[in-house]
């Protein structure tokens, strides 16, 4: 039961109807969020524009998939600038793996403050930590995720999650979509080992496949200012 040669996160940089999956995992690759669609597709990370902290809670509507420091594409942007968040555009992202490995258990999808994966304190105002005034109590992450109940080869999503992401969404511990053609009924907070999503399946051995997911970033007046550089993480086991 070997490990995988290739396992990565990828976003759709074309359209809902005709996805083009762009890998964003690894050195130099980043997923960037902004409240504007015109940030540009050749912006070095050090020059990434700031957004003003809002007076009320809201969404950060645009996602950019950067494959190098100054080489990017807009998510669901048909090769250009990103389009605004739309829960109906469910071909947004997925975890993908090759046929060299074998999972020994159900994988887990979550996010951390940094790649150090330190334990996360709720409510300190960080993007992943959340703040009770903005993201509910106990404080949930500003970053939410949804996941499909089966691998793509068993049937890709044909409909969107039933409910849009809400800033207070989240359940402590693990949640799983019902196995089969199902999204999570409600988006889950992505907060390290506090709140996360566990797949309801163990993918088939040595079979290339993918797991459809969706991600949505919220913000609010109590989010800390400064740079936020969290990481999406996929946890898995192999023997």
């Amino acid at each position: 039961m070997a490990d995988f040669t290739d396992l990565h996160l990828e976003f759709n940089t074309n359209s809902q109807a005709s996805p083009t999956w762009t890998p964003v995992t690894g050195a130099g690759k980043t997923t960037r969020f902004l409240d504007r669609s015109d940030a540009g597709l050749a912006v070095a990370s050090a020059d990434w524009p700031r957004m003003t902290r809002p007076n009320s809670v809201g969404g950060v509507d645009y996602i950019y998939a950067y494959t190098a420091d100054a080489v990017g594409l807009g998510v669901l942007g048909s090769g250009g600038d990103p389009t605004s968040w739309d829960n109906a555009k469910y071909n947004q992202a997925r975890w993908k793996w090759d046929n060299t490995g074998t999972f020994a258990s159900t994988p887990v999808f979550t996010a951390y403050v940094s790649s150090a994966h330190a334990a996360i304190s709720r409510g300190t105002g960080g993007l992943i930590n959340g703040h009770t005034t903005d993201t509910g109590s106990p404080a949930r992450s500003y970053l939410k995720g949804n996941a499909w109940g089966r691998v793509t080869s068993a049937g890709a999503p044909a409909a969107a999650p039933g409910a849009d992401s809400g800033i207070a969404n989240g359940i402590s511990g693990s949640v799983s979509p019902s196995a089969g053609a199902n999204w999570l009924a409600a988006y889950q907070s992505l907060q390290g080992d506090n709140d996360y999503i566990t797949a309801p399946f163990t993918p088939a051995a040595t079979t290339a496949d993918s797991w459809p997911i969706m991600v949505r970033l919220h913000t609010g007046p109590n989010m800390n200012s400064g740079d936020h550089t969290p990481v999406f993480t996929f946890k898995y086991t192999f023997a």
């Binding site: 039961m1 490990d3 995992t25 951390y112 330190a118 080992d193 990481v231 086991t237």
Partner: protein, 202 residues
Amino acid sequence: MKHIPDQHAMNKFSKGESFWRALYSDRPAIYEWDCDWILLPKKGLKQLHLMCPNGRVGVIASQSEMAGRIFQFKIAEMNSRSGRRLEAQVIGIEKGVGDGDCVCWSWEHQISESIFFPGSKPTIEAIRALISLEKTDPELWVVSSFATSQRDEAEGWTIGIIRQARLVGPFEDNVKPGEFKYGGPATSTLAIDNISIPVGAK
């Protein structure tokens, strides 16, 4: 006595990784690189070892038949920024039949916080000094430090992630029918506690 094949062992140890070794009463030892875990002959197995880079060895032994009771797996993660890495390797054995109680050893990585340097980019000597400072526990084994850096908004530098590991065990856990819920011991450095292992890992 068969010596550990140096090249394979060094390949593992140089990456800070452990490996398993199976000892039999009636055949030569089998090492992790010799065969797939699920193909490992379990009949006649007397001991299962977890060989660690710091020289320590976790041992699972039993006077009774081990087939159908031992398990082994690795915990890994794919991180959207730094890529894939191994978090732990676990070996274990069910103590009885049916109740799920088991004994385990694990080689567990722990990752320190990133270190922020205000001002100019630090020298490699400064980074090395920090790595040695971080190693405060003699049981901890420095696995690696990433020399990648990124410039912070405030014109400082965030350098490196120091990875260390240690052998943890023996500790007790419980194997539910059909799955393994990894709780880990109090000294565990693993952040995750909900790894489910199907019988296929046994």
